[in-house]
């Protein structure tokens, strides 16, 4: 491709490069009215402006040169860079468990794409071994890239494909499964897989990273190591999310796929189990150490049940004061069959919404109530308003997290439309999406500044 020699350049910058016949990766002397610059012309990120040319100078730094200041350019050499993660054959040890890694587009090991500035994931076992050699001591990894989408683009199509692929691997006798995933919707996928892959005999571990692996302090390698330990050696045969426990490089948490949520936009320790404790911790030193006494143990059989269903016409509505009834009306009029509401407090919405809710239920739309406090149960009996709502057809979803309830309603409505059947499926927990008890240590959102909390911070790694 002819235009490929000007990677990412457009408009005026592209014109200048063409005028002076300088290619991307060309070493150039650039005379400007701010003085002379010398270096290698680099590709430009596609979303940046067309007023600058990027140059790598001899000291390794990048600089931008304003095209309006350029007097002349001369190409004096050419050296194209090849980005490649060193690929080494992944050493197979027959004594180690066999683990399958499914790729969905998350970044575990990666390299930089200059044009977009994005990181391209390394994925083949060889690349993984090149980046995280410790993996070979833990398990034998094979990989399969199911799709390459950003976390926010994961949806029902992908959930179903994943569930089916997992089922196949289990049938084929795999010892554990890892799914590499972007973190933004990691918990949604974890919930979906919990419902779609029931009674798995082996661990199914979802893992991501909060810092891309192109940085030395990335959490990617350690998360992956933890996931490999969990999948290959752990005894917990459930769908789990494996991410940093504290923000320090110490241990990971294994969270049940239905009770986990991303709670910080950028922290490494962003995933938390809500209204319960995590399932277990995992570390290089101690392996998988269960916190919860009850969990599904690893089994030899292959009796997994795959239920790849999903109704896409389901919505999650976050209630706010002064919400107008037309929000609900428009969902109904657009053919939505299920609505999960994240209500205030114990599960409430304002009065003006009542007629709309009544209308929706009459039209056969299934409405479930969750709480936007995230922690705690929906208790609609406490106030009259709650009782009114239930009378209008809203079903309280106990302490199911709003996102989990959304995923579950989609999954349930993919199987049946019968009001009672839907209700039964929704309120019968598959794996703790509803718990009968909330332990006291399930809600721990400490506040800084209090002496005992500060003391805890000083002593333990957050």
């Amino acid at each position: 491709m002819a235009e490929d020699i000007f990677k990412g350049y457009k408009g005026r910058a592209l014109e200048i490069l063409k005028t002076f016949n300088v290619r991307v990766w060309g070493q150039a002397i650039i005379k400007t009215n701010r003085g002379e610059f010398k270096g290698t012309v680099l590709p430009r990120a596609e979303n940046d402006d067309d007023m600058h040319i990027v140059v790598k100078v001899a000291t390794g730094y990048n600089i931008g040169i304003d095209v309006s200041t350029i007097i002349s350019m001369e190409e004096i050499g050419y050296k194209e860079a090849h980005y490649k993660i060193p690929e080494k054959e992944f050493p197979i040890n027959p004594k180690n468990p066999n683990v399958k890694l499914f790729g969905t587009g998350g970044t575990i090991a990666s390299r930089l794409d200059y044009r977009t500035g994005a990181v391209i994931p390394a994925f083949s076992p060889g690349e993984l071994y090149g980046a995280v050699p410790e993996l070979a001591d833990i398990c034998n990894i094979t990989t399969e890239k199911l799709f390459a989408v950003f976390s926010e683009n994961m949806g029902p199509e992908q959930y179903k494909k994943l569930a089916i692929a997992i089922g196949k691997e289990i049938e084929n006798g795999i010892d554990g499964i890892i799914i590499g995933h972007g973190t933004d919707t990691l918990s949604h996928t974890a919930a979906a897989l919990t419902f779609m892959v029931q009674n798995p005999p082996v661990p199914i571990v979802l893992v991501g990273s909060q810092r891309s692996s192109d940085r030395p302090s990335s959490d990617a390698a350690l998360n992956l190591i933890h996931a490999a330990i969990t999948a290959g050696h752990g005894d917990i045969a459930e769908v789990m999310v494996c991410m940093f426990g504290p923000t320090s490089d110490e241990y990971g948490f294994l969270h049940r796929g239905t009770r986990v949520r991303k709670m910080h936009s950028s922290y490494r320790s962003t995933f938390r189990t809500l209204s319960d404790t995590p399932l277990a911790t995992v570390s290089r030193k101690d392996g998988v150490k269960p916190i919860k006494k009850e969990y599904n143990h690893r089994r030899k059989d292959r009796n997994v049940i795959i239920k790849p269903y999903f109704e896409e016409k389901v919505s999650l509505v976050y209630y706010y004061p002064n919400m107008q009834p037309d929000i609900i009306d428009s969902l109904v009029d657009n053919g939505y069959r299920g609505i999960v509401i994240a209500g205030t407090g114990l599960g409430h919405v304002n009065k003006p919404l009542y007629p709309a809710i009544e209308r929706a239920t009459k039209k056969g739309v299934h409405i479930y109530m969750t709480v936007q406090t995230l922690y705690g149960y929906c208790h609609m009996y406490v106030y009259d308003t709650g009782r009114d709502l239930m009378a209008k057809g809203i079903v309280p979803a106990e302490n199911m997290l709003p996102e989990t309830a959304y995923i579950k309603l989609g999954w349930v409505l993919g199987q049946t439309d019968d009001r009672e059947e839907v209700k039964k499926l929704m309120l019968t927990p598959i794996n703790d999406e509803i718990t009968r008890r909330e332990p006291y240590n399930g809600y721990l959102v400490y506040q800084g500044g209090v002496p005992e909390v500060e003391e805890f911070l000083r002593k333990f790694h957050k």
Binding site: V54, Y61, G64, D66, A81, R211, R215, P216, R458
Partner: protein, 652 residues
């Protein structure tokens, strides 16, 4: 064995032509091809840090922290698809990095739990100002780049840094010095400790804005290097917008000799250390080149060369060397190493008081995490009694007279890395001078710090967008530039200010103050210059204490004197009082020194009185009379009448 290690050390020191710095001449430096360049780091005086909104310039004590965070650093690929050499070395060391954070001075950005915020504009503008003063070609767009540091000094594992200008020039009074570039960057953590596999840092300084000015390696003598470092410091300070005080400016000094390699001496915080450090580093390289020659002659085939190691069964041997006895007690493994054909090399001079064996020991500490003392060799220049310990070792190997031996010790887990480290350092000796960064010691010598990273460790920062620098923006900054440093020199010369005051005045950026006093109070620059650089400097040296005194108080003081029509000589007294009690106003100070207002006539009459009182015991000493009267009259006259005038009166 007749070999005497200390004798060999002395002999080799002489053989390479080492001279102490005080005896070294320009010819010596020419002979060994002294070459040096500088990277001068200067903190900028901003309210906040460079990429987050934490306050800048607030420091904590090592044991004063609110939380600890642990990270490990893992090498990543460079954009050219390769791992950096330092990166791999640091990875080998498997350090646990602990950060002590304090809520007040660090947020989630410092600890890499939040992406960067927009660059601090205040910092960017100060840096651009300095870049313009350095006559650099200013870039069209600032690209934040990540420079990898796997030592943990920055929790992300890289420093965010960006070039503002390239190819500049400094105007020194006697010559010009070329600059490669100037960058703006975030400062790193301060190290608290580094023991075994655990390194501890504080995060207060982390993220503070810094500029780095990089010169070409144009300096040909150690004194020149210092002179240029001073000049850059003065230039930075001439803006009045940079930090002063301990640690606010630090130099990395690059040194090489003819045939040597660029070695970086890191974090030199005092310019006065530079000459000794660069002198010794250059001769160290010169010595390493001699070692290379020797080895290439001694070893039949260097490509086949390798070390032999044997683990010592500690039950079978009896050691007398204390650190070995201690190591056995600590359940360390004791390893004997044979270095074929290395006789005479381990005790070969490298730096004053140091020899090639130290090069190995230092790497064992840094790379294999073995705390010193971590080894002993049979050519130790300090311990002769070691011979008996080694006698037990020789039979374990096929030893010849040409071989040297060392014994090292450490925990089981570190032995493999340690053996690799020893072999690697020895093999590097065949090539000459290894690429490395070295840490400055106050005695003028240096120790190994880490392998010098290459340009491979630079990555574009995908978290931040490029920042365009428009012509209008640059023009606005150009308008606020201070007077260039070479103009300041000229000014001082024109004012007849004594040259011995220049360093003090420029270091403290006082020329603008002198100029202001000259223009507004019509006081001669020469008077103010010596008041500051002689009198005040002397007071500062004598009373070393914390004070809120600032130089602007000198302006206020002289204004006070002018306003009240006191004589200028009062300034010499007031300045000391004000320095010691900056919180007192000048009226109170006048009261506290018992100042009494007297007119000329009153003082004159007192002179007459004193004249009659002076009865010389020895008529020959009549001329002492003047001095005696002057001494008596001084406390009374100061502030009222100039002493010069009194002197004339007495003579009448």
């Amino acid at each position: 064995m007749k070999f005497d290690a200390f004798e060999n050390y002395c002999y080799t020191r002489k053989a390479i032509g080492y001279v102490a710095r005080k005896n070294a001449t320009i010819d010596d430096y020419r002979r060994i091809g002294f070459m040096s360049g500088l990277e001068v780091h200067q903190q900028l005086k901003t309210k906040e840090k460079l990429f987050c909104n934490c306050p800048a310039g607030i420091y904590q004590k090592p044991n004063d922290y609110d939380a600890e965070i642990i990270r490990h650093m893992r090498p990543t690929l460079s954009e050219l698809g390769e791992y950096d050499g330092t990166a791999l070395m640091e990875f080998k060391t498997r350090k646990e990095i602990v950060y002590l954070i304090k809520h007040e001075t660090a947020c989630t950005y410092e600890i890499d739990d939040t992406p960067p915020f927009k660059i601090d504009r205040e910092a960017l503008e100060i840096a651009l100002e300095i870049a313009m003063l350095c006559k650099l070609n200013i870039v069209g767009e600032v690209h934040i780049t990540r420079k990898q540091y796997l030592d943990g000094s920055i929790p992300t594992g890289f420093q965010r840094t960006a070039i503002l200008g390239v190819e500049g020039e400094l105007d020194l009074p006697n010559r010009k010095v070329r600059l490669i570039q100037l960058s703006i960057e975030e400062d790193s953590c301060r190290e608290v400790s580094d023991i075994g596999h655990r390194r501890v840092y504080m995060t207060d300084r982390l993220g503070m804005p810094l500029i780095e000015t990089v010169t070409y390696p144009d300096m040909k003598t150690p004194d020149e290097v210092k002179e240029v470092a001073e000049h850059i410091r003065f230039l930075n300070r001439s803006t009045g917008k940079v930090r002063v005080g301990i640690g606010s400016s630090r130099q990395d000094v690059n040194v090489s000799c003819k045939g040597g390699t660029r070695v970086e001496i890191k974090g030199v915080s005092h310019n006065k250390w530079i000459p000794e450090l660069t002198h010794n580093e250059c001769f160290r390289q010169w010595a390493l080149l001699h070692i290379r020659e020797k080895l290439l002659k001694q070893i039949p085939d260097v490509s086949q060369w390798k070390i032999e190691t044997k683990e010592i069964n500690t039950h079978g041997c009896k050691f007398r060397y204390l650190p070995i006895i201690q190591a056995i007690k600590n359940k360390n493994k004791i390893i004997a190493v044979q270095l074929p054909y290395f006789r005479g090399i381990l005790s070969h001079f490298t730096q004053p008081g140091r020899c090639f064996a130290h090069e190995i020991s230092e790497r064992l500490k840094v790379i294999a995490c073995l705390e010193q003392p971590n080894m002993i060799c049979d050519e130790d220049i300090e311990n002769k009694e070691i011979a008996s310990d080694f006698k037990q070792i020789y039979p374990l190997f096929h030893a010849t007279e040409n071989d040297a031996f060392l014994i090292f010790w450490g925990p089981d887990d570190d032995i493999k890395t340690a053996i690799e480290t020893i072999e690697e350092r020895c093999k590097l000796a065949f090539k000459g001078v290894p690429n490395e960064t070295r840490k400055a010691l106050s005695n003028g010598t240096t120790i190994f710090e880490r392998v010098l990273p290459g340009p491979d460790r630079m990555y574009p920062d995908t978290d931040s967008a490029p920042i365009p620098l428009t012509n209008e923006y640059l023009q606005k900054i150009a308008q606020q530039l201070p007077v260039p440093l070479n103009k300041r020199y000229q000014q001082l010369i024109e004012w007849n200010v004594p040259t011995d005051t220049f360093t003090y005045l420029l270091r403290n950026n006082l020329v603008p103050l002198i100029e202001k006093i000259y223009h507004e109070l019509q006081i001669s620059p020469k008077f103010v210059a010596t008041l500051l650089a002689h009198r005040l400097k002397n007071i500062q040296g004598k009373y070393k204490h914390k004070t809120s005194f600032n130089f602007y108080m000198v302006y206020e003081m002289l204004q006070f004197i002018k306003h009240n029509s006191y004589s200028l000589s009062l300034a010499h007294i007031l300045i000391k009082e004000k320095y010691l009690h900056p919180e007192m106003d000048f009226d109170s100070i006048m009261h506290s020194i018992n100042f009494q207002r007297k007119n000329k006539d009153e003082i004159l009459s007192f002179v007459q009185l004193l004249r009659t009182k002076f009865i010389p015991l020895n008529p020959k000493k009549e001329k002492l009379k003047k001095h005696w009267i002057m001494g008596k009259i001084r406390p009374l006259a100061i502030g009222n009448v100039e002493m010069k005038e009194i002197c004339e009166l007495i003579e009448q």
